[in-house]
Amino acid sequence: MNPIALIARKESGELLMSGRGLAWLLALSVIMSALSLLLVSNTELSLLDNAQVVYMVMGTVTALGALLAVVLGSDAVAGEQERGSLMPLLLAPVTPSQFVFGKMGGQVTGWVVMYLLSLPYVWAVGSSGQNLAQSVAYLALFGTPVVLGFGFLGIFLSARLRSVRAALLTSLIILMLLVSPLLLGPSLRQSVIGKVFDAVNPFSAAVNTFDSVVIDSQPLAMQGTRLAVTLVWLVLTAAFAIRSVRKMEI
């Protein structure tokens, strides 16, 4: 087995088999349950088009996935260092990119589990069935690069800042910044700055795609630019993560 697979398996095992990892998944599933009950028990909201409810759930799953990713990523380097287990990894015949992709293997496992956990929620709230299959597919297609990009971002900051707390704090601030347009509402996003930010923001790209596909039934061909934004985000954050691990000073 190559080092990437080995590290990935270790990370996945730590996430899924340790109490800490499972507690995280429990917390996330409770949040999803609360959201689902809230969405369908509110008198007004319950009469929104079910597609809009599905859209809200998809956005929430992506945001929670990004949150888990920054938590895992922030711990990836600095956490190992604080626990004294980084040195043996650096002294093994493992290249920086193998280390980073191995760590991301654990992130992929986390996202896959979250995605699978979210599917029953998407099905349950999308009872009208409008674009349900598309919502499942697009959550994977757009959610994955956005979430994994945040994972790479966490690793980059973890290697640069060498402190789990500092990396996590910085990651969360960046996450809040990228999620903010959706909280600000459509009118503020119509300004020049708002439009530019919306255009380059990977989180906006994913959520606006969910809106276009699930609510407005637009085809994939019309989402090309947004897909490109999420993929550029993924590639850039991966490059920064590998570079920061390579240049890490012990």
């Binding site: 509110n42 008198t43 929620y121």
Partner: protein, 176 residues
């Protein structure tokens, strides 16, 4: 002097009576669609039909006709914001020729339970008052909002599943 006063009075009265005497330039009808559910509930769609016509001899310019909804439950009378009820809130006609009729459909989605009154209003550039259609009243029944058959098993089942795995891991850890 007498002639002047009489002419002045006649002119004033004609001016004053102009608005009362001027017939509505636009006529509006409002009828519910025959396929509307007889006892609609929250989430149902209702459709209303209007014919906006010009019964007069003069053309009407800048005609705007819009739908209004009010809740008429005793003690809860209030206008309704049509934001979520209808995407089709108004029609305009630059010119409505004499005898011309424009058919309009008004679809609305029933968001909230209660008793409602719908009316279509219209104005044009010349007439000095709002012209309205007859009212149509309808009742919206409450619908159970939690589709417990789907949501509840998922909302409680998924966390229970994760909790079960957590407990099993703890038990295995203690056993070994």
């Amino acid at each position: 002097m007498k002639k002047t006063v009489i002419s002045l009075l006649l002119g004033l009265s004609l001016l004053g009576l102009g608005n009362v005497w001027a017939a509505d330039s636009v006529s509006i009808s409002l009828t519910p669609d025959p396929t509307n559910p007889p006892s609609p509930q929250m989430g149902d769609w209702l459709k209303f039909h209007s014919v906006v016509g010009n019964p007069g001899a003069q053309a009407a310019h800048g005609v705007v006709a819009w739908i209004s909804l009010v809740q008429v439950d005793p003690g809860h009378e209030q206008p309704v914001d049509l934001e979520d009820w209808s995407a089709h809130k108004a029609v305009t006609e630059a010119v409505l020729q004499p005898g011309q009729n424009v058919k309009v459909e008004w679809p609305i989605r029933l968001i909230q339970a209660g008793a409602y009154r719908v009316v279509i209003s219209a104005v044009d550039r010349e007439t000095g008052h709002v012209m309205t259609s007859p009212f149509v009243d309808f009742q919206v029944r409450r619908k159970p909002v939690v589709e417990s058959g789907r949501i509840l098993p998922v909302a409680f089942g998924i966390p229970a599943l994760v909790l079960g795995v957590l407990a099993w891991r703890r038990y295995r850890g203690r056993a070994s």
